[in-house]
């Protein structure tokens, strides 16, 4: 099986090269047959890499420890489910997964567009395949997942050697969320290759109008959606698996996934300015290239160990190749942009601060400041070592100082941007649109202040959240009411149909609403408290109106791990609400302890209980209790984010045929309605 995987990988390598050559030669000699052949080869690459990754899965499922990668990331007792997810438990398999997902995207793109954009598509194929070639080559020559297990003797002789059991998967990764979080992140990372390929094709062919922008809109949203959800899944994993009480630590690898997401977010907004006003054309290409480069760079950061991180355990030799690839991409894109500059002139100019395009401009500006801050903070140890020969690291305070105000400002723009008119909004429309939401938000702000919320940023975030939520609710209400009157539908039907007929706009609002929920969850972080206690059986301790009573301390022993555990009853104002079982395990196979956190979640707050350690005689235990308000809203926000993105991806529902005649008769009328929508739509 290892040979089959290796063979498929080599085959993919050859087909990929063929696909690139066929596409390029086909373009040069205008040979449609060659171009079609290059396209088919791209689909063939997908087939070959699929066989390769399937063989790796087979090797894991059959405990074939003669393969080094399997031996070091799995063991016989591992659950079958985790044997599959072990594929991306280390670098070799992660890169294979990257490459495979890329060929999935590539196959879908070339099949979807096989009869469209005939002059652009061969370039798209070639760019996709060049990227694929890089990853396939890495897998084939540098980090090969099919390398056989071997022993090196001191005298230099190397013998093949099959261990009787594997070393097992890191227990921290034996987790449901950890099984699905990396593929999600990668679907996001890899997905940005598609808009990148189209942007490059547009530059090559000098077809820099709206075509490429319209084609990649959905693909960008797919990538952006997966990445966003993936990031939050990672946070969820950190929250319940790592046991330090939080879900985001500005760790280099978290930052690595955040940076392309920030740029992708900027692109999703600035692209609307190009569609509507013909501005920011250069900028949009820069963003698409930036999102792609940041994705590759993120993969590099995760896997190279260039900066210390909880994720990057080992230094590795892949850094140079990645930097070379990134340099190549930037040089080609930079040259093409320079050469095609005259094709990218803006059709319009900014006029007023109080306009839709200006809100997008500031949205982009601060998203980039955020990205730059995250980048420099992450890379500071490396940069300072180059310059001063001393490694200087920066802590969470730096990241929060910059990003919290940015996030609040972004929230403000989220509220006002969608309702501002293009070009220049009138004072009257401002009053009409914002008086009520702002009034409600400020009144709530006063109430919250007297209710004891004095943390400035948290207070701001909550006020902004209410403001944005009000503007969104108002938009749905206004649209649905108008529709209900016009069609005779009831209000709920009107809401649904309204959304389905303009999915991009209303899906966008739902995504915005998801960020309201995420903000509510994040602002809870300003009010966390914790306590650490050394307790014995029968002891109680309190935190914020909750009482914990230690019922028992015990230990357990299983073939996989040994464990110390406490049984703790939780009382909310004297009423028993839950039993919690915080645990500390020691995984024998990998000789690693892990914390099994006990979490009691409500919409209002989480109680998060960690078993810190037991005294030698087992009579006392150190328990740490975190009180985390509003955390649940982060996870709820993630679901809403996914739903909103899905809705925005749906094609707009058309009028049913029976009504088409009436619709036609009302063309004049709907043109005005269209203007209204244009005024407010995304």
């Amino acid at each position: 099986m290892a040979q089959l995987g290796q063979f498929a990988l080599a085959l993919a390598f050859i087909i990929t090269i063929y696909s690139i050559i066929a596409s390029l030669v086909g373009i040069r000699f205008r040979n449609d047959k060659l171009i079609a052949s290059g396209r088919n080869a791209a689909v063939g690459t997908f087939g070959a890499i699929t066989v390769s990754i399937a063989s790796l899965a087979y090797l894991f499922l059959h405990d074939d420890f003669s393969v080094a990668y399997v031996a070091s990331h799995s063991n016989r007792d591992l659950l079958r489910y985790f044997k599959v997810s072990s594929i991306w438990g280390g670098m070799e398999g992660s890169l294979l997964l990257w490459g495979w997902l890329l060929t999935v995207y590539a196959a879908l793109v070339v099949i979807q567009n096989r009869k469209k954009h005939t002059s652009m598509m061969p370039y798209v194929t070639a760019v996709l395949m060049c990227t694929s070639l890089f990853f396939t080559a890495m897998n084939l020559f540098v980090v090969n997942p099919f390398k056989l297990s071997a022993v090196a003797f001191p005298n230099g002789v190397v013998n093949l050697f099959t261990p009787r059991d594997g070393q097992g998967l890191n227990p921290l990764l034996q987790d449901y969320w950890m099984a699905i979080h990396p593929p999600n992140i990668y679907l996001g990372f890899v997905g940005f290759t598609v808009p990148f390929a189209f942007a490059m094709a547009a530059l090559f062919t000098k077809q820099l109008g709206d075509t490429w922008i319209r084609t990649v809109r959905r693909w960008t949203m797919v990538a952006w959606g997966f990445l966003g959800i993936g990031i939050i899944m990672g946070g969820n994993w950190a929250y319940h698996e790592l046991g330090w009480g939080g879900f985001w630590a500005w760790d280099p690898v978290e930052n690595a996934s955040l940076m392309p997401w920030l740029i992708g977010t900027a692109y999703l907004h600035s692209v609307m300015v190009q569609e509507k006003k013909g501005m920011l054309k250069v900028w949009n290409i820069v963003l698409v290239v930036g999102a792609f480069v940041m994705s590759v760079y993120g993969t590099f950061l995760t896997r190279s160990g260039i900066v210390n991180s909880v994720h990057a355990f080992a230094q590795s030799n892949i850094g140079g190749y990645f930097l070379a690839f990134i340099t190549l991409v930037l040089s080609v894109a930079g040259y093409l942009l320079y050469d095609r500059w005259s094709y990218l002139k803006a059709d319009n100019q900014m006029e007023s601060f109080v306009s839709r395009e200006s809100s997008f401009l500031f949205n982009n500006l601060i998203l980039h400041v955020a990205c730059f801050a995250v980048f420099s903070g992450t890379m500071f140890p490396v940069l300072s070592e180059w310059v001063t020969n001393e490694k200087i690291t920066v802590g969470a305070t730096f990241f929060n100082n910059v990003n919290v105000p940015i996030a609040i400002f972004l929230m403000f723009l989220t509220g006002v941007g969608p309702l501002l008119a293009w070009r220049k909004a009138s004072t009257n429309s401002l009053k009409r649109n914002f008086l009520i939401p702002a009034g409600i938000a400020l009144s709530c702000g006063v109430i919250m202040f007297f209710a004891g919320i004095r943390h400035f940023y948290a207070w701001m975030a909550l006020v902004m959240s209410i403001f944005v939520a009000m503007t969104i609710v108002r938009e749905f209400y206004k649209g649905a009411r108008a529709r209900a009157t016009g069609t005779g539908e009831n209000f709920a039907q009107a809401v649904v149909n309204l959304t389905l007929r303009n999915t991009r706009r209303y899906g966008g609002y739902i995504v915005h609403f998801a960020f309201v929920l995420l903000f509510v969850g994040w602002s809870g972080q300003a009010f966390t408290t914790d306590t650490q206690q050394e307790v014995g059986i029968g002891d109680t301790f309190n935190l914020r109106g909750y009482t914990m009573r230690v019922e028992s301390l015990s230990s357990a022993d299983t073939p996989n791990y040994s464990a110390q555990r406490a049984t703790v009853s939780l009382y909310d104002k004297g009423v028993h609400v839950a039993n919690m079982f915080p645990e500390r395990r020691f995984y024998k196979n990998v000789e690693q302890p892990t914390t099994e956190v006990a979490i009691y979640s409500t919409l209002k707050e989480d109680l998060y209980l960690v078993f810190g350690g037991a005294s030698t005689d087992g009579s006392k235990a150190v328990l740490q209790l975190f009180y985390n308000p509003l955390t649940m809203w982060v996870w709820i926000g993630a679901w809403v984010l996914g739903i909103g993105t899905l809705i925005a991806l749906l094609p707009n529902k058309k009028s049913p045929p029976s009504r088409r005649a009436t619709a036609k008769a009302r063309v004049g009328e709907s043109k005005d309605a269209g203007k209204e929508i244009e005024h407010a739509s995304s």
């Binding site: 080094a68 031996a71 070091s72 438990g89 280390g90 297990s149 022993v151 090196a152 003797f153 001191p154 261990p163 070393q167 890191n170 990764l173 950890m178 990396p182 046991g243 330090w244 009480g245 896997r303 210390n308 909880v310 994720h311 355990f313 080992a314 590795s316 100019q349 900014m350 601060f353 401009l361 500031f362 500006l365 601060i366 400041v369 801050a373 001393e390 490694k391 200087i392 690291t393 920066v394 802590g395 305070t397 730096f398 990241f399 929060n400 100082n401 910059v402 105000p405 940015i406 650490q532 050394e534 990998v590 000789e591 690693q592 302890p593 914390t595 810190g612 350690g613 150190v622 740490q624």
Partner: protein
């Protein structure tokens, strides 16, 4: 048209300046020097005043828990450093003998490093085995 563009430039510059200021103050507050144990000793008196993150391997058998605090010794290239961990965060799962630890805090004149934060990485089983020549690949973690 020119003046219209100018106000966007000024507005943007103002935002960037404000954020840079916030970033800079956050940087000053949270920056620390990242050194190994010998590097810290080599920096001489400078080591006492600075906020530091020091990296070293936990020497086996030196971990002693004293209530909420943990005392231990880290070492790197034959130089050792006594550490007292007084932080509020739970001790990481990966912290144990031979683990590669990064302690964050200040170095006192008494020769004890007071750490308020701690990170630990362990791939030690693999590293030990690799050292013994049993396997060829290292654990990559996630």
């Amino acid at each position: 048209m020119k003046s219209k563009q100018l106000k966007f430039v000024l507005g943007s510059a103002l935002i960037v300046l404000a954020l840079s200021y916030l970033g800079f103050s956050g940087f000053k507050e949270s920056m620390s020097y990242y050194q190994t144990v010998p590097e810290m000793y080599a920096s001489g008196d400078a080591a006492y005043g600075r906020h530091l993150r020091v990296q070293g391997d936990v020497l086996p058998g030196t971990i002693v828990r004293e209530g909420k605090n943990v005392n231990f010794v880290i070492g790197h290239e034959n130089q050792t450093l006594k550490v007292q961990y007084v932080g509020t965060e739970p001790i990481p799962d990966t912290f144990r003998d031979y683990a590669q630890a990064v302690v964050e805090g200040t170095y006192g004149r008494d020769g004890i490093f007071t750490a308020s934060k701690m990170q630990a990485k362990c791939a030690s089983k693999y590293e030990k085995e690799t050292a013994a020549g049993v396997t060829t690949t290292k654990n990559e973690g996630q």
